[in-house]
């Protein structure tokens, strides 16, 4: 125990850890005390058990992946490790020593650094100011800044972490901002680095650069925990991988001795066989035609770089892609939520993309319905009753407004009851607030509202995100049924399985462009994965 303490005491000057890495590595190899060991961690939020009796050992000097679906409890576990939450039960051992981590400061002192999914940077501070924040060293800024400047130069050379120390964060790209977060952790002499979904916001080339950095850090003896739900990254970069499912740690494997198929099965808990019963599509006339659609966002970044595609009646066009490659923007433009340039036609008539007529109300009036990606933020008013949510977006519907000055609440309630019955919403109570339903039932309320208005074109984003298995099948069947009734459906999903199971044609988006179009029966996940990564 005593020897361990001497061997693994962290050097007080971070330069030491940079200049004497080989020594560290030897010692690491000599010892099998894990950098981090968690024993029986439990955490509940009210009735929800986010972490159930979790135990895990992370070997020193390795990259350890933690995979799991959204809501599996990965982020909660890491937040416990970083002192954001306190575990209800369990023990944390750092370098073999039991450690209490009641707050972030304790985590930093224990040598843990964290790169959050949403960066914790002060936008109008410089890189340097962000790096020293909280670790200034002296009461006056000047000496701290000078010291940090020198150290940053060393780190940049060592790990390909080049960032202009005097640039304002708000002027940096997302990839560079992430480097600042890593620099922050290294400046605080972190030995253990946790990255939460680091590539969700990165382009593939930025992600590759990140992985190079991570490998470099590993070489220097750092321990890295990588949280992700992307199996490709796990296979590429990790040494070990642990799988979480519904708050439990279900397995830990050496990456070399497992396969994506096995990991996927462990994540989902059953054979991943997303098969939806459907007949071949019988596409009718063209419903939507889009030509050279472009969108430049508020920061001047071009999010959509000239899209061309069509959708016919009675077919589902699936848009595959890694999140953040323009799919969300495409949905919002077509739904009338943000203006863009280019041309579009709906059933042959010009569909305005900006100016008058390019708003959500007009879209609904022309039989374009929209199931948004984020039902909590956009699709529902959580504090409204179910019946009030049924009128959301359709509050001008003549059926709800028999007279111009009074809304017929009773008619809306009756309509809600009918929709709830048709979509098997439980409990079928129109007076219950939207926040009182489970994720699957909330999504059914949104789908019922949009589908029952018999749209010609349905825009759907992430229809089954955070939805239980039973509801997934139901939702998929309803989308197929709407297609068979002759509607055109634009489906955006980051779940490749879902895209492949539902779509009649698949378009892959990457970096605001369409990389290619495939037929689901004539392609496979590998080919689509390459297109999604921008390699074609």
């Amino acid at each position: 125990m005593i020897t361990a303490r001497i061997v693994f005491a962290r050097p007080s000057d971070p330069r030491m850890s940079l200049t004497h890495p080989p020594q560290m590595r030897q010692e690491t190899a000599a010892s099998d005390i894990p950098a981090i060991e968690l024993r029986g961690i439990c955490k509940a939020f009210g009735p929800v058990q986010a972490n159930k009796d979790i135990s895990i050992r992370v070997r020193r000097g390795t990259i350890h992946g933690i995979v799991g679906e959204n809501g599996a409890g990965k982020s909660t576990l890491m937040s416990i490790l970083y002192g954001f939450y306190r575990a209800d039960a369990g023990e944390i051992l750092i370098n073999g020593r039991p450690t209490e981590i009641p707050d972030s400061l304790s985590a930093i002192r224990a040598g843990i650094g964290m790169v959050f999914q949403h960066f914790k940077l002060v936008e109008n501070f410089t890189v340097l100011e962000n790096v020293i924040l909280g670790a200034e060293g002296s009461a006056l800024l000047r000496p701290s800044l000078a010291k940090a400047r020198g150290l940053l130069k060393d780190l940049a050379r060592e790990f390909e972490l080049n960032v202009d120390p005097d640039a304002l964060i708000e002027n940096l790209s997302v990839g560079h901002q992430q480097r600042v977060e890593i620099l922050k952790a290294l400046y605080r002499e972190a030995d253990i680095l946790i990255l939460d979904e680091p590539t969700g916001v990165l382009t593939p080339s930025e992600a590759d650069h990140l992985f190079r950095i991570l490998r470099g850090l590993k070489e220097q003896g750092k321990t890295i925990i990588l949280i992700t739900h992307k199996l490709r990254e796990i296979m590429d970069v990790t040494d070990d991988v642990s799988v979480m499912r519904r708050g439990e740690m279900v397995a830990t494997r050496a990456t070399a001795q497992t396969s994506p198929t096995e990991l996927a099965e462990l994540m989902v808990g059953r054979k991943v066989l997303l098969r939806v019963e459907k007949t071949p599509a019988t596409p009718g006339e063209e419903v939507l035609r889009v030509q050279s659609l472009r969108l430049v966002d508020g920061q001047g970044v071009e999010r959509l770089r000239g899209l061309d595609f069509t959708i016919r009646a009675g077919e589902i066009l699936g848009i595959a892609g890694v999140a953040g490659n323009g799919q969300s923007e495409l949905l919002e433009v077509l739904a009338g939520l943000r203006p863009a340039t280019g041309q579009a036609w709906l059933r042959g008539a010009v569909l305005p993309l900006s100016g008058p007529g390019a708003d959500a109300q007009t879209r609904r009036a022309t039989a374009v319905a929209h199931v948004p990606e984020d039902r909590h933020r956009r699709g529902l008013v959580l504090n409204f009753h179910a019946w009030e949510n049924t009128a959301l977006g359709y509050h001008n519907d003549p059926a709800y407004n028999p007279t111009p000055w009074k809304m017929d609440n009773d008619a809306i309630i009756r309509d809600t009851s009918a929709k709830m019955a048709a979509f098997d919403v439980r409990p079928p109570d129109p007076q219950l607030k939207a926040s009182g339903f489970s994720g699957g039932n909330q999504q059914k309320i949104v789908l019922a509202r949009e589908i029952e208005h018999a749209p010609d074109l349905l825009l759907v984003g992430q229809p089954t995100r955070g939805v239980d298995i039973g509801a997934i099948e139901f939702i998929h069947q309803r989308l197929i049924r709407l297609r068979d009734a002759g509607a055109a459906i634009l489906l955006v999903s980051v779940e490749l399985d879902e895209i492949m199971a539902l779509s009649d044609r698949i378009v892959v988006m990457f970096d605001g462009r369409i990389m290619g179009e495939r037929l689901p029966e004539k392609t496979n996940a590998q080919e689509l994965g390459l297109l999604m990564a921008g390699m074609a």
Binding site: F45, G46, A335, G336, L337, D359, A360, Q361, T362, R363, R364, H370, P372, D374, R377, R378, G379, L380, V381, L382, N383, F384, E388, A391, L392, G393, H395, N396, N401, W405, K406, M407, N409, S435
Partner: protein, 365 residues
Amino acid sequence: MSGNGRIPNWADVTLVPLVSVLLAFILSGILIWAIGESPWAAVKLMVEGAFGSSYGWGYTLYYATNFMFTGLAVAVAFQARLFNIGGEGQALLGGLGVALVCLYIPWPHWSLALLAACAGAAGFGALWALIPGYLQARRGSHIVITTIMFNFIAASLLGYVLVNVLRPQGSQDPSSPRFPAEVALPKLHEMLALVGIPFSRVPPVNISLLIAVGMCFAVWFLLWRTRLGYQIRAFGESEPAAEYAGISPARITIYVMLISGALAGLMAVNSVMGEQQRLVLNAVEGAGFIGIAVALMGRNHPFGVFLAAILFGFLYQGGAELALWTSIPRELIVVIQALVILFTGALDNMVRIPIARLFALRGAR
């Protein structure tokens, strides 16, 4: 996660505000005790002064009328998550509207004058709220700060108009001439006399009370029975969801501020036309601010506003009696009002979380 929302609805709308008011009263009682008076005697004096006679009732209802208008003004804006603290300035401008209507147009009968004065008061009040509303909707200037600024600008503007335009020649007093007798509003005692109920002739409570009660109903109808109300509430609950539904945030902001300003302006019909019968510098006397307390206490619901307005009417009348008979100054009421705002508005969580815990305990058993 803190247990919010675990409180049953009935407790949320009754228990939480009642406990808040109770806390405010207890603290005020301690203050009264600390300055050497008896809190118990003070309460007795206040209740008797406000409810013990038709004289007291008359004043209580007169004040309550003011507070219903300003309370509704704040509540409507709150429904859209807009904090309009400009009720004071909007009511001042409403007073100007009333004065112009009453002074410059010869009215044959009070009823016609009342209609026009309502239009004038609401119109000027709405106009004064429109500018901050527009600036928030189109330029992103925060409405709290702009409405504060507009309160001061309104005071300066009114000062200028009273001194340089409306003041009768030879008068030193910065106020308008008296309104003609034809535009005097019928008082409550005249109205009650028609059905044979005797009522004190002194207090200024007048037909505006009925308008205020009508407005409570109208605002309820607007919010929960019309499309505009639906859009206002949806926008207030979630701006992204409102956008998704095709509700224009800018348009709703402007509409809400127009309605809010009009309601605040209407207060002047009661005070300027019903009581003072001329326009003076401090015609509003802080009622615009009391509207904040009334709206918070009434949980931004028109029925709650109605009850809270009567409570504050009681406090004002009772406080005046207190100042008359004891050494406790009227400002004590301002303290109580502040405590009510503090507990029902800013310290809501302090009251709510323990209540939620109690319910959780009961539910666990």
